[in-house]
Point group: C2
Chain length 65, copies 2
């Protein structure tokens, strides 16, 4: 399977937000809805920092660019 | 491998932008840098509409939300 884990980078530290993410959709208010292959859903108020799909990683940041 | 193909949705039509995308990074000016597993790189001026990782799809839209 080709899902990825979503991490939040804050103060230089990486925290797992949701593993095995399948669906990612932007929300109106500068956030994202994440849904994983187990049906778990999470909303994250952060911006995308970088995605590394081959490494199965989605990195978010709460900091402004 | 778990790369995904990037498509641009415009006027209801899906156009392939870049296949086998590994890295995705937002740019300052509301766009994204895409880099695939072959080292090809592309800049797309669009917003993310939806990602479906298990289906290996990244969908972009040029339309405003």
């Amino acid at each position: 399977m080709c899902e990825a884990s979503a991490y939040l980078i804050k103060d230089g530290k990486e925290t797992l937000v949701l593993e095995s993410v399948d669906i990612l959709e932007p929300l109106d208010e500068s956030g994202f809805m994440l849904k994983n292959i187990f049906g778990d859903q999470k909303i994250i108020k952060a911006r995308i920092l970088r995605m590394e799909l081959v490494s199965h990683k989605i990195l978010f940041s709460e900091d402004t660019p």
